[in-house]
Structures are given as C-alpha cells and as structure tokens.
Symmetry: C2
Subunit: 409 residues, 2 copies
C-alpha cells in the first residue's frame, strides 16, 4: 500500500532542500539545492540520449563513478550546454562551491541545468545563489516546494510528490520527488526534463540505479510533449538508508519499493504531461493486446506523439482514423481488422471501433462529449497478444506555437 | 540539360488526362483520370510504409504484378482506407468502370484515393465521375491542370511540372508530373501524398521502378510536414516509350534520365513542402559533411521535422540551439565541436556557428533578417565526412493547429 503524504523532497527524513532567486533567469527562484544530512549516500542518475549532452551531465556522470552523492545543485535559466571546455569548467566550479560550503568533496556533488543552449553560466549569480541556498537549507515542506519551484521554466506550477510505503521486511520507507516539465525557460529556450528523487530506503547504488531505470522506462520515457529530446534531461535519485530496511540491491530488488517508485515517477510524469506547453488536455494512451512489450510501448508513444492526434484532442474531435494511421506507422505488429479503440474521461467511455468495425454514429457523438473533459484517455486493444503499456502527453494547441515561436534575439 | 516546359501530365506525348467534379467532396474537382494512348505500358509505384494501407493501394499493387498500366484513376474526398472487404471491392469496381469505358483490362488500371479514413467510397458519384472524365480526357494543358486540381485537398494550389531533356543517346524525352500535398481533404481528414509521373522514355518496368525509388528517396521521402505517415501515400510512374531512346533498364540505367526525374520529383516535393498546412515558410535543410549518406538523411529529416525548429521558423527566430539538439537526437554521428550552422535566404546568408563556436551577436541579428523571407535554408556542416542530403518542410503555425483541430462529427 502506497500512501501519499504532504510535501516532496523534504518529506524524506535526512534530506534538506531549498530554492533561491540567484538572478540567473529574469525573476523567480532559479537555483535548487538538495543536501543529504548523512553526507555522501548511494545515488544514481539517468541522462538524455541526445548525442549533444549539457556540461552538468558530464560532471554528474563523473561524480557518480563511485555511486555516491551528498548534494545536488540545479539551476534554471541557462542549460550550460554546447559551451565547450568553459562549460565543463563552470559546472565543475559550481560543484566545488557547493562542496566547500557543505564541507564535502566536490566529487560528491551532482549538477543539473536547464535553459538556453550555447550561453555560459553566469558564475557570479551562481556563486551568490549557492551561498544563499546553503544558509537557507531546511527540511520544511516550504523549502521542498521552493526547490521544486527553482527548476520551473515555462511550467505553470511546481511538481512534487511524497509517499510512504511498507517494504517486504515490514519497515516503512518514504520516497519524495520533484520534477520540471518539458517547457522553455524563456519562450526561446529548449525543453528539458529534470527529476530529483530521494528516499530513506537502504539501497546499493546499483540497486537504486536499476530501480530508477525500470521506473523511468514506464513513466518519464513514456511522456511526449513535442518529440524533441533535450540535451539536458536528467533523472537523479539518492537513498540514505535511514529506514534501516534489508538492503535493496540489484540482485535482490524489492517489488514493493519498485511499486512505490513507479507510483512516484508515474505521478511526476503525469504532472509533466498535464503541464506541457500550451496544453489544454492531459492525454493518456493505453495500449493493450500487444504481441510484445516493445510493440505496446512504440504503439502508445506513436499515438501520444502524433501531431494530428494531438491537434484532434485540442479540437475535442474523436478522429479515430488518425489513431489508426499512427498505430500503422508505429512499427508495432497487429492485424487492422482486430483493432478496438475507445475514448474515456470523467464524462464516461465511448467505444468507437470494435475489432476493426466502427460501432455507431451515436458512439461518435458520445465520444465528442467524452473528449470535453480535461483528462482524456484513449484505450487501444491491438488484438495481437497480452502485453500493455501507457504513454502520457498533451494536446497541440495554438498556444504551443505561440510559446515556441518567440524571438531569442 | 533539363528545360522546364509548359504544363504537367499532358505535356508528355501519348498521355491524356483530366479532372472532373464527381461530387465526392463538397465542391470542386475530385476525380482524376490519366490514360495512355498506347494502352498498357511499363509502370511502377511506391506505396506508404504504414501497416494500415488504403484499399486502392492493394488493388494497384495487384495490378502492377505484370509491370504495366494503361490508365490511372484517383479521387480526393475519401481515402477508402480501413473499409475492409467492401473497400477492396469498391476499389476493384472503380478500376473495372474505367477499364470498360477505355476498353482495356481492369488489371491495367491503377487506383488511388485520399480523404477521410474509415468511410466507403460513394460509388454512384464515382461511376458518374468516371463517365464524365472518360469523355473529357484530352492532351491539353488545361486538362492536365484539371487532373492536378482533382487530387487537391487542403492544398492551396495545383502542383504540376513538365521538363524536357536529352538522353545519352541523343534522343529527347519528356517527363511530366502532378502531386498533392500533405494536407487534409477537410479540416478533419488524414494527410496523404499522391504523385503521378509520366514520361515518353522507353523503359522496362524494373528500370522505371528503380529510377522512381531513387528519386523518391531524395525528394518525397525527404519531405516532412508533420511526421505523420498516411495510409494512402502513393507515387506512380508510367513510361510509354514514344521517345524511342535506347531502352532504360535496371541494369542499364540512364544517368541523364535519373537527373531529369530527380529534378521533377524534387520540384514536386518542394511544392508540397511550400504548401504544407498553415505553412508561412518553406524550409530547406541542407546537411553536408556527414560520415554516411544515411547520417546525412536522418540529420536533415530530424531538423526539418522538429516541432521546436518549425515553431522557431514560424517566429523567424534563428534559434540554433534547437537545431543542435535535433541533430543530437537524430542518431547521426558527429562531433559537436566540429559543427557549423548558417541560415540562408534571398536576403543573404548568416553563419551562426562555425566549427562548434558561435560567430557573433551581429550575425545572430543578421540571421533574423535572413529569416524574414518566405523560403529559408538551414545549412549544416557536421564536419564528420563527405556525404550530404537535403530535406524539405515548412514552419509550424497556429493555422496548422486550427486546420487540424476541427470536428469530424
């Protein structure tokens, strides 16, 4: 049983956090600091698959060689990507500044950034921001929320969650997380997803990494806002072991912990999708009846990522032909004559296509009503097997174009 | 030397064509008929890669088994896709109707459709339309243009071209073509590309097919309007041999003919891109310095297909960071520190990035001016090799969302 508790990162014992206004972006909190009371603890991170990787990712990867981190610093307002050797140096210096003030090794500090590609980190602001943040660090909910706010870009709200659950050995553990969505720092900058997750469970670095990878595959990796993959995506997790449970390792994973972590990352992924740029609808695509898990995943992602499907959702239009076409080019294997599609929301459910045949004009009109709600689900049965998957996204609105067409110059 | 001549399909000796209003869509020409005076001649076609294929594609494929066609009928207003056995029967009957009136075999008629997925062809309208079209067939430029108009959907103008060129053996040959763009029949229907190309060159079916495949790979297959692949895409070519050149075969291709065909398909592809739904800019992405041809292609396609790049082009914003990011996730292999990017238009050229380094603030401001033109080129040098490729697309405008969010119900 997973129960949601108040707060986010700071709801987990042994972690302090905060967010400050360092002056990196024009107004608002823009520097997050997260610190482990115990000092360096098992940590793991996943990075963007983009060939061009931001400088902070390279530093964080390097610092994770020993599987441990004691603190994380992240800024919005500048991605510190495509900034060459200078960028690496700036990310390294950022880690050093945090390390010095927290009295840990620079190698124990993770660094993340989101913002404009190709411009240098404003190091004076970073320096002052870090000083301020170190003084302000606390385990209050308010400071947890400040941390979540400090990584926001075009996000319209902070995104955080915390849960409690009981592990197989009876110990209770807590997981807290904060994320930012696929939005632009300014109307001109590149979309980036950042996620930070902390827990008091006792885990090895490899156990944590493996659990994080598993959860991310079914959550963060199933979110599509605009099919553009950032240079700076990072999901980072830390585990301090204060729960004193039987250690979770790669060889001896905990199903219950995995379930809790899945819950946290799925909720964060849903928050990202719901708050996609210009989004007016949260879109959830459930694919079942797939021949393989991979087929289920690529089918769900193709539908949630299709500009035509997204524009139809914006128009609250049950245009099922576009869904059929997206499934057709997804690469998933299925027999079109066995396909079923329904639309679902708080308003109810309407089956449009049943085993390759349209149901009724009435159901199509009903589907329109169903699509009038904020959260819309598309349920697809490929009729080809037993595997399933879910993907999250949002509609394609005129607001999206507006946000992303503004000048950088 | 390729010279452009007046007209399109009917500019090629031995072909007649026309377009009529059959009443399949709400007003306007909606049925194309193309006929070979010589009767069945070598023909070849390429079809959508979508798993879900429209019924006409299945019939045309079947009829091309012997490598010959004598006529082609195509309609806009209804895709006849996802219509089951009934759809196959309707497409077959369409071919039979044309065959009867032209006194050829049903197996010598190609069929194509574009429009709403999942609804039946209105066979009464098809029947009457075919009768009208057979009577009206002519080799006048006007009827050629009518044919091009009859396949239009949300296209804002007909798309046709004709050229003359001299082959290696000194004979002169003609190539004519018509296409429709990636638009929607109604604001509610699925995007489809259709292209018809005729020539009086003497070719075997395999020679024609191979030349068409080659040309399409560098033209139609490099156009991206919205990354959604239709169920009904078709590019079809016919060659009647009246030019009496040395027969072009798969084993003995003609470089000159290939160059001419490349020219035709590239021009048609450019017309499609320029007239993409809601497009305000034609975007041409040139990638050079790639390690392999495949890398050049996937890099060019990733940039031209990126929603973020497209939105930036709509905003006339030289947001080169988004280009770097798109190249990074394209899968092409390159060293980011060797990358060069410039923007070019009738207004001039501005180099933004040279071997991994930004040039100057002045160039960025200049690039903004350069992007003020209707046709914008992005030139990318990956600095990784000798291969190159070009892709075509258009910007992502609010109009695109408007067009694609309207109701089907």
């Amino acid at each position: 049983m997973v129960s949601i508790i108040e707060g986010g990162l700071t709801s987990v014992p042994g972690f302090r956090a905060t967010g400050v206004e360092a002056g990196i972006k024009h107004g608002g909190l823009d520097l997050l600091l997260l610190s482990s009371d115990k000092g360096p603890i098992p940590a793991a991170a996943l990075f963007t698959s983009n060939l061009v990787k931001g400088s902070p990712l390279q530093i964080t990867k390097e610092h994770l060689q020993n599987g441990k981190l004691g603190a994380v610093v992240a800024n919005s307002g500048c991605a510190n990507a495509y900034t060459g050797q200078q960028g690496i140096q700036d990310a390294r210096e950022t880690a050093e500044l945090v390390a010095e003030l927290l009295d840990i090794n620079p190698g124990d500090v993770g660094v993340a950034s989101t913002g404009l590609i190709g411009t240098r980190l404003p190091m004076n602001q970073i320096r002052e921001g870090i000083k301020k943040a170190v003084k302000q660090l606390s385990n209050s909910w308010e400071d947890g929320t400040k941390a979540a706010k400090a990584i926001m870009t075009t996000d319209t709200c902070p995104k955080e969650i915390a849960i409690e659950l009981e592990l197989e050995d009876g110990t209770r553990t807590t997981i807290g997380g904060a994320t930012k969505g696929a939005g632009m720092i300014h109307p001109d900058l590149h979309a980036t997803m950042l996620a930070f997750i902390v827990t008091d469970a006792s885990m090895t670095p490899a156990g944590l990494r493996s659990a994080l990878q598993r959860s991310a595959d079914n959550s963060f990796n199933m979110v599509s806002i605009d099919r553009d993959t950032s240079t700076n995506d990072m999901a980072l997790a830390m585990a301090n072991g204060l729960a004193k449970n039987d250690r979770i390792t790669k060889k001896h994973p905990s199903k219950k912990f995995q379930k809790g972590l899945d819950f946290v990352t799925t909720e964060l992924a849903r928050m990202i999708a719901r708050d996609g740029e210009g989004a007016t609808h949260l879109l959830e695509v459930h694919v079942e009846g797939a021949e393989s898990r991979k087929d289920a995943r690529i089918a769900a992602r193709a539908v949630v990522g299709s500009n035509l499907v997204k524009a139809a959702v914006f128009g609250e239009d049950p245009n099922w032909g576009r869904i059929v076409a997206a499934l057709g080019y997804s690469g998933a294997s299925f027999d079109p004559s066995k396909l079923s599609i329904s639309f679902k929301s708080e308003e109810g459910e309407s089956l449009i296509l049943f085993r390759g045949k349209t149901t009724s004009e009435e159901n199509l009109i009903r589907a329109e009503e169903v699509m009038g709600e904020e959260k819309i689900e598309i349920h697809i049965d490929l009729g080809a097997g037993q595997e399933s998957s879910t993907a999250w996204g949002c509609d394609l609105s005129k607001e999206y174009v507006e946000i992303n067409s503004k000048y950088i110059t």
